[in-house]
Amino acid sequence: MAESVRVLPEDIQKLIEVHQWDMRTRLGVQRFRELKARSLPSVALDGELVYEAIIPPQEELIEAIQKRYAAKNPADVGSP
């Protein structure tokens, strides 16, 4: 899953801040439970669990990120 995020295009990387949790650790388990996740791998966007037990296609992940970015930054929508 980390790899699928790492290979996102540079313009998308600029929009996001990525945190990765190691499920072997107490912090990882705590975050997993906070997100109410059930399976691995899991991906949350803006603290909301979006993908569980799947690695989404890159286009789908990009679209989900852009949608959230646009909702939070309406002034930026349409700008280059």
Binding site: Q20, D22, M23, R24, L27, V29, R33, R38, S39, L40
Partner: protein, 321 residues
């Protein structure tokens, strides 16, 4: 990409094996160069040992090592002199930090073992339990804690531990009691008994047929000074205690299944919930060991090696004092 997997630094804990004095070990912690939780374990004058420990709590280790160096009691050394030596050994790298928890490895492969859970309400029936277990031809008896209860009947437990009838591991209350040489949660335990407690392992591993088993009490292990998520069996502990809430949250079993391939153990035994249960997830067996006194009967677990995993049953026996 930020990785948030590592916890904050913990105090460093040391166990120093003495020479020429009554206590066999000195346990202490260093936090930012200051002493904490000093214990003289396994003999000596308990009053003076507590006096030393209290007076030195929070003191700079370097200063203490210098001030105590050379104090003689017998054979040109003393408890304070040995503490001075221990501090210097720790600071100069000759004494390594102790593991946050002690793992006992049973050297003998087993095929049929008994599991005893919380004895705090049933310490006086330990001898009867041992007899019942032996009647079923078990090769070893593991007590997963808590071992001691509120009363003089805990003495039967110490006798069983001393005579090697059973292998005991510390429960949360046992560990808490063992932290102070006197008083504490179970003030009726004498210093000798508390010293015996503090030297018991927190975790036991054993071989059951072709399966590797690990047994522990529960969540308090994660709060021990120096506990690392990368200690032996820490993944098993973190998954049972943290992820699944002692196997009570079945919704996260898919995640547990994904993590199981990283386990060292095939069988994971625990006793904190004080209830009986057996689950098989991701090719691993998880067994919750209930209390020894359960619903007005004595209770223990019989664990046998099977071809596809562990065979487990709870044995209930009436008790007539």
């Amino acid at each position: 990409m930020e990785n948030r997997s590592h916890p904050n630094p913990q105090p460093s804990r040391y166990v120093f094996r003495t020479t020429g004095v009554c206590p066999a070990e000195i346990h202490f912690q260093l936090i930012d160069g200051r002493l904490s939780n000093i214990r003289f374990v396994g003999g000596g004058c308990p009053g003076n040992a507590q006096l030393v420990a209290r007076l030195l709590e929070g003191k700079p280790a370097v200063q203490v090592a210098e001030e105590l160096k050379g104090i003689a009691c017998r054979e040109s050394t003393s408890c304070p002199d040995q503490l001075s030596q221990a501090i210097r050994d720790a600071q100069e790298g000759r004494l390594k930090t102790a593991e946050s928890f002690l793992v006992h490895s049973d050297p003998t492969p087993r095929s049929r073992v008994a599991l005893i859970g919380d004895l705090s309400d049933a310490a006086d029936m330990i001898q009867r339990l041992i007899v019942l277990c032996r009647q079923r031809a078990v090769e070893a008896i593991y007590c997963l804690g808590n071992l001691t209860g509120r009363g003089a009947s805990s003495k039967a437990i110490f006798k069983a531990l001393r005579k090697d009838y059973v292998t005991g591991i510390l429960g949360a209350a046992d560990w808490s009691s063992a932290q102070t040489a006197s008083g504490g949660e179970q003030p009726f335990l004498n210093t000798q008994e508390k010293d015996q407690l503090i030297q018991l392992p927190h975790v036991v591993q054993f071989q059951l047929g072709s399966w590797k088993a690990v047994a522990f009490f529960g969540q308090y292990l994660q709060q021990l000074p120096g506990y690392s998520d990368f200690d032996p069996f820490a993944i098993e502990i973190n998954m049972v205690c943290g992820l699944t809430n002692f196997m009570q949250d079945e919704a996260v079993f898919p995640a547990l299944e994904a993590m199981a391939s990283q386990f060292q153990a095939d069988l994971v035994l625990f006793s904190q919930p004080r209830s009986w249960g057996h689950w098989r997830v991701g090719g691993k067996d998880f067994i919750s060991v209930g209390p020894a006194w359960d619903g007005g009967q004595m209770a223990w677990g019989l664990l046998e090696a099977g071809t596809d995993g562990a065979l487990f049953q709870t044995i209930l026996e009436p008790f007539h004092p």
